[in-house]
Symmetry: D2
Subunit: 255 residues, 4 copies
Amino acid sequence: MCRFLAYAGDPILLEELVCKPSHSLVKQSLSAVQARTVTNGDGFGIGWYGERPEPGIYHEVMPAWSDENLLSRCANVRSRLFLAHVRAATGGGIARQNCHPFHHGRYMLIHNGQIGGYARLRRQLESQLPDALFEHRRGATDSELLFLLIVQQLQAGMPAPEALRRVLASTHAAMQQAGIAEPLRFAAALTDGDTLWAIRWASDDQPPSLYTKPQAGGWAIASEPLGDDSEHWTPLAPGEMVRVWRGEMERVGAG
Amino acid sequence: MCRFLAYAGDPILLEELVCKPSHSLVKQSLSAVQARTVTNGDGFGIGWYGERPEPGIYHEVMPAWSDENLLSRCANVRSRLFLAHVRAATGGGIARQNCHPFHHGRYMLIHNGQIGGYARLRRQLESQLPDALFEHRRGATDSELLFLLIVQQLQAGMPAPEALRRVLASTHAAMQQAGIAEPLRFAAALTDGDTLWAIRWASDDQPPSLYTKPQAGGWAIASEPLGDDSEHWTPLAPGEMVRVWRGEMERVGAG
Amino acid sequence: MCRFLAYAGDPILLEELVCKPSHSLVKQSLSAVQARTVTNGDGFGIGWYGERPEPGIYHEVMPAWSDENLLSRCANVRSRLFLAHVRAATGGGIARQNCHPFHHGRYMLIHNGQIGGYARLRRQLESQLPDALFEHRRGATDSELLFLLIVQQLQAGMPAPEALRRVLASTHAAMQQAGIAEPLRFAAALTDGDTLWAIRWASDDQPPSLYTKPQAGGWAIASEPLGDDSEHWTPLAPGEMVRVWRGEMERVGAG
Amino acid sequence: MCRFLAYAGDPILLEELVCKPSHSLVKQSLSAVQARTVTNGDGFGIGWYGERPEPGIYHEVMPAWSDENLLSRCANVRSRLFLAHVRAATGGGIARQNCHPFHHGRYMLIHNGQIGGYARLRRQLESQLPDALFEHRRGATDSELLFLLIVQQLQAGMPAPEALRRVLASTHAAMQQAGIAEPLRFAAALTDGDTLWAIRWASDDQPPSLYTKPQAGGWAIASEPLGDDSEHWTPLAPGEMVRVWRGEMERVGAG
């Protein structure tokens, strides 16, 4: 499993959430509390929007806790919308290509969870992608594949919440058809550079943890509370999806 | 393009070919002479057979010329059969998973060349692999894919020379069917830990360079001569394949 | 030797100089023209000033030409003053700690050249540093040491041009005293986040190359011209030092 | 702090101790039990003797748990004497140059502990080294410095136990003279490729843990037991030093 955070609101220095809090994402890379794996040291990534429609991306295979580049970048980049992720590899190998966020054009995704029985389903799911998207497949993870499947729906004009639900449903259906008993789990944040969506979902009753908190004229969303302020963090209910836009968060549809 | 070398013969320290010659593979990583790219600094790999049937493998994304681990390893590992490769990435990203040699069980391959129009053919070629082999696909390169297609034939009992020819023919046929005009080029060394095969082939008239030279009770095979001894290196003819076994090299079939 | 560039002027995206020109610094990392070493693939670094007095820093041991993080960062960071450097290691090993720019507080330096006989002089020069500065010594290069010696003078209130001349003179004197015949060579750019100084100097008649060119309401300074526009780049004379401040460049003192 | 192991005895595959035990060194890199830091993910290193007097060395900044090169190497290299170390950085930065084992000629050292107030003492201690040894200083750690100080004594003909005691005493004296209250702690293994010495020492009453166990015609020495066989591991007493030679372990002198 992994740990992540997303932010949308007034422009803030990345370090405000990534590095400085007492239980920041960097600290979670060394010792997560609510994750199935304590150590999330198999690489990390951040993506942020600046003055361009496409995000800037930084992927690294080193543990987040020991990367001075990350500290320096987070102290010097200010953004109104960014995603950050520390990885505990469950498959796909240690490589920058397997680090989150995954991005395509203006879209970005970070994910915590997995496709049960992925090895058996991978080619079937990949075959659903159009050539133009498959060519952007760079790594080997189930997360990147889910992202490209979602982008496919977005490019076809489907709204993001529907695209997320559609891909989860079709992936789960494919798993069932293949007789896979392991669950599909999906806590994630998706953005187009303007709106931020987050979802906490699983095909069983154990969706990965996900919390929200008002922050700097906007909202922070994280796998676990970033500080000693647990009381200010609200867990998403299983199946719940939220949307952050222009500083406001609202619930989107039902599980 | 890339540069590689293969050796089969009396056990020698890897450094005898990888590091010490005046135009060693390490030096070729910085300045190759007969390659389309002078610099082959996008990672490297070595694989060698010791006391086990499966090879030891070392993959690294750093340039070979600056990796002290490589020097130390080559000065301390002695082997009767090894492959080494320095990479100039043409696709697939910089990652250990995209470094040669590719290996599966006791088989290993190093490759210089490419599948023309690979991005369009990748899924079609991947779909030909059985699940058990596809699960071993770790990177994104055409070289790894060709290797797994060859292993598929070897596992089905086909002799290596036939497996190589078969996969090249079927891949080229798929390229033609897809209307791809770019060539398939394939200079490679393949081994099962006992016999070493090398082939210099292309669907057009420009196969990558490949040379052989008697060495220490066996044979060295390399993309370009390793020293000032060009006169002792014999180029393979276009389409030619050779086999090294028990210190003897012989030509295998026709182009 | 190495290649570098410095810029001070209107805020521009880093990519305008680092990545986009036909002979950009990234391209020089693979094939420099005027350097003693064609390949500068032993790591790189960039430092840029944003909204803080201290610069943001990115150091990486991978070659610049293959680092996607670098491209993404340069496409998304805009700065009014930045330094960038690609390294061809002459000593000190491949490590982030040995990558330029070196920085301390608001000061930053990039350097091309070397202290002749450095190994014999290193401790003597290090012993001149006060504890507080020596504790910031992180790597093993002569460049970092020269930087800290310069910072020592700057912290004592000496103007930058004088500090540069002073440290070069005292270092050269120490070399002569030790009977070192090899030259001291020093093409460099130094900044306090406000003013940019550049110098082309050597104790013999072969100072490393250094050029200037008006650029976007300011000036670019580079080891060699960045594009097909050689006619717009003016070489510094041996011994020459320049200063860029508020968009204007002027010559500072004599060699 | 860090975790390490040393072995001297009949030639065994490195994996027998490094990777395979239920609480192997690779597993300790992710979750040490008796260390002050649970995670030892700031790089690692192994050194082993083969057919040459100098050891082969492998240093890597990645965490040991995620490095496939390490697994492959350990499965394919057999040695009669080797050292392995996983690092939790306390100073000196993440770099291969700061990874243990440190080596010089046929000597090698791994260390767990630290010099209290090292930043203030570093130059003074470095100044004690002769030029020829100081030139071999590659990183910035206190461990490497202690190693070179020990090598200095060994090269002068002092027996290893005496050299260890001498350097610890003089370093501690220098600390006291400088008014440093923090302790000097030193659990270490030292070898000349023939004999293996291990010591558990501290200037206070908290020396880092160190255990021994008979293994394969020889002895394993480790920071903590490698498996579920704690009852077979004997802790060294504080101050105790042992020597392994020709398969026999004996106590060397007093604390």
